[in-house]
Subunit: 282 residues, 2 copies
């Protein structure tokens, strides 16, 4: 099978199937149309401007937006429309690096179709016999992609941490990696995709990607129960799994394909080379 | 100045300012409107379909298309509308890796606004004192970007050579690099941009990018007169030149910015990080 098959999951998320949620002229989310209708049915915080979902002009500033939207969501929660309320805030940004427009309960992020950010780390070991990659296996009780293969370290980006602070935190939780080692990870770029991914709804994600070269004396150990095991795989075996199977969580396979392009394992002789590079950048 | 300034030159090439040239439903060029009018004025090979420039339905297949378009171009050359006729063929592809639709005199490629492809090689030297990059200086008599700084090796992609064959050829011509060494270059991705770049007209280019790590005992020597000199620069000096000056040919600065992202010299703490990554992929 061609590598391009790994992107099949990314293609169906057409903008026209969603209601655009716009704040101050910036597209911040691609909202499920039914959820948009529900938001419009509660009070006057949300309204339509053309076909776009917008906030009422009276609702301005981070605190007012956060409170007004929270009140609507609490009402929808009472109707059973916001399942799995987590009591955790998700920051809605005009664009990466900018001050957030508001904070929203994380359980509603997929319904709103907000852009999300994460960090993914390729863990590499150079041996005389070739290049190896640390591959995690996700716990069978994970809500998302149970039992699928994963990077050495990967996690969503919470509000208030820098990318490197989050990577250090995830390296500790997911692989028991000391901070000094985690900080040797090299930033290598970012990939962006949109997809309908159950049970999350729309994912419109940008993953900040990192590589780290590890010595033989480091063995990862999961400390937060999210991964059930790690294995150190020869790069050819990783390539075959990514190319020929769905064993990897879909976005982890994209991170590996990006790695394979940067390291010449997938080169211009691959017929889909430019299509793949385009697809990695949304 | 921010790195993003290096992309200023890339932004002005709006699709709406050109006439789309479409073959078999594929957009193959963004044609200068005046040139499209001239093509339409000669015989019936070209016609408009809606606002798109297309070939007449009778003109089918590589050979017929190549001959029909060549006859029109010869007529326009006689009117002085195709300056600098080179007698060199340019292959027009539906997409990279596909069989060409036709071959066209290279002097007309910029007028048609065809997509073009090239290879660019970052030449790197690791020393105890840090990372260095070989930088070429373009000859002062070059028609395009005379005297500007350039990669170690860079060149357009001719029809009939593979990407690696072209890289080997350019490595020999531009840097006197033996084939065995050139083949150690590692493919690392591709960047795509569109720009109005004088005297070439519209450039809509995809550059296949490579890195090579060289030993102290290799010194590049230009053999085709396109570069007047090489210098081995500390990476911090290269970064400063790319960030703060226009000394590099614009597309060479983009290749270096892509390198700086892949090697962590530009990281997520850069406010324009995601904008830069987007801009590198057209």
């Amino acid at each position: 099978m061609p590598f391009l098959d790994r992107f099949d999951v990314v293609r169906p998320a057409e903008e026209s199937r969603y209601t655009r949620f716009v704040i101050d002229g910036q597209l911040v989310g691609l909202t499920q149309p039914d959820f948009a209708k529900a938001l419009l049915s509660v009070g006057s915080v949300f309204r339509l401007e053309g076909r776009d979902l917008v906030l009422d002009d009276q609702v301005k500033g981070f605190q007012a937006r956060t409170k007004a939207v929270r009140d609507v969501l609490l009402s929808l929660r009472d109707q059973g429309l916001v399942p799995d309320w987590r009591g955790e805030d998700y920051a809605v940004l005009p664009r990466w690096g900018a001050e957030p427009f508001l904070a929203v309960e994380r359980a509603a992020a997929g319904l709103f179709g907000f852009r999300a950010y994460g960090v993914h780390l390729n863990g590499l070991v150079k041996k005389d016999s070739g290049l190896f990659m640390w591959i995690g296996k996700r716990a069978k009780d994970k809500a998302v992609a149970p039992g699928k293969l994963d990077q050495l370290v990967a996690g969503g980006q919470p509000f208030g941490l820098s990318i490197m602070e989050n990577l250090v935190k995830e390296c500790a939780e997911e692989a028991n990696m000391p901070e000094a080692l985690a900080r040797q990870a090299q930033s290598v770029g970012a990939i962006t995709y949109r997809t309908e991914y159950q049970p999350l709804g729309l994912r419109w994600d940008t993953l900040f990607t990192f590589d780290i070269f590890l010595d033989d004396d480091f063995t990862p150990e999961n400390t937060d129960g999210e991964l059930e095991s790690f294995s150190l795989m020869a790069i050819d075996d990783v390539i075959a799994l990514v190319r020929d199977t769905d064993d990897f969580k879909f976005n982890c396979s994209l991170v590996i394909i990006d790695f394979l392009i940067r390291w010449g394992y997938i080169g211009p002789e691959e017929p889909d080379y430019l299509k793949i590079i385009d697809a990695l950048h949304g």
